[in-house]
Amino acid sequence: MDITSRKTVSMGLSVAAAVSLYGISFGALSVASGLDVWQTQFLSIVMFSGGSQFAVIGLIASGAAGGSAITSAALLGVRNTLYAVTMAPTIGPGLWKRLLAGQLTIDESTAVSLSQSELQHKRLGFWVTGIGVFIGWNAMTFLGAVLGDAVGDVRAFGLDAAAAAAFLALLWPRLTAKDPIVIAVVAAVVTVIAIPAVPAGVPVLVAAAVGLVTGFMLNRGAK
């Protein structure tokens, strides 16, 4: 194995280790939100996309209707479609390979892959990170769910605040320019106004709609 390959593997595995650790908090928060261990594990295996998973459990915990939890998860999942389109040439043809790659197409596997310059390293980065995160995330989800079940009151351990911090940490790397910052602030303000005014689960959808309009206006203003 050449030195770049080794570096790629090492990068993928460190990303996987960091993300996996955080799976413990997902598992614990999920059972605290009212899901059982199996529903929690189902999300980590089938949905396998951190932002969408946290959205589902957060909205279920807040008493939102199922429809808004599903819509929010799907809207957050739209970026994975773009990642998949970007990764398709790297993955190459083959139905089963593409199906497997599809499930492993998330922020982390795409980011590690895109950070490489040659095709073989892009491929290696994608698979090592994707498989590493999948195994680690699911193992830690299970651990967290079982521990969370045993712990009981998660508020005493600040796990509700941990969920808010997790969303902030997912948002942070995207706030690199004026436009995303403006959109984030508008979405936050709209959410605060909407919370007491509309049923649980709806504020996030209102924020998404207003965010899109804001993005459209910023884009027009730039032209």
């Binding site: 199922g66 999942g77 398709a88 605040a161 911090a165 984030a184 979405a187 998404a208 993005g215």
Partner: protein
């Protein structure tokens, strides 16, 4: 709708969105409008979810230990702390504020 229905429907929707990306033509994803919409949606939703998790409380807005915890998380992010540290610091802050009775 039961929790299982929500979990299954949402999971299949997110999974389908990933798989769709491998069958649509590459040119679709390269369109600037599509890329822009995807990143705008992600930022707006994540920002909204931060606010909901921080202040939403049984149908209203509540200022409690979560607010201080999220501020602490923001400071950790500014210091470029790793993901897991950010989350742990936020949880520890809320736990400490509640244990000492400073904030609910």
């Amino acid at each position: 709708m039961s929790i299982w229905n929500t979990v299954i429907a949402a999971s299949l929707a997110v999974m389908a969105l990933k798989l769709i990306g491998y069958v649509v033509p590459t040119s679709f994803g390269e369109q600037p409008a599509v890329q822009r919409m995807s990143s705008v949606l992600t930022v707006a939703l994540l920002s909204s979810l931060v606010v909901i998790q921080t202040v939403a409380s049984s149908g209203g807005v509540a200022i409690d230990a979560r607010v201080i915890s999220v501020l602490a998380a923001g400071v950790m992010l500014m210091l470029r702390a790793p993901f897991i540290i950010v989350v742990i610091v936020a949880a520890a802050t809320a736990a400490l504020l509640r244990f000492t009775g400073v904030m609910p």
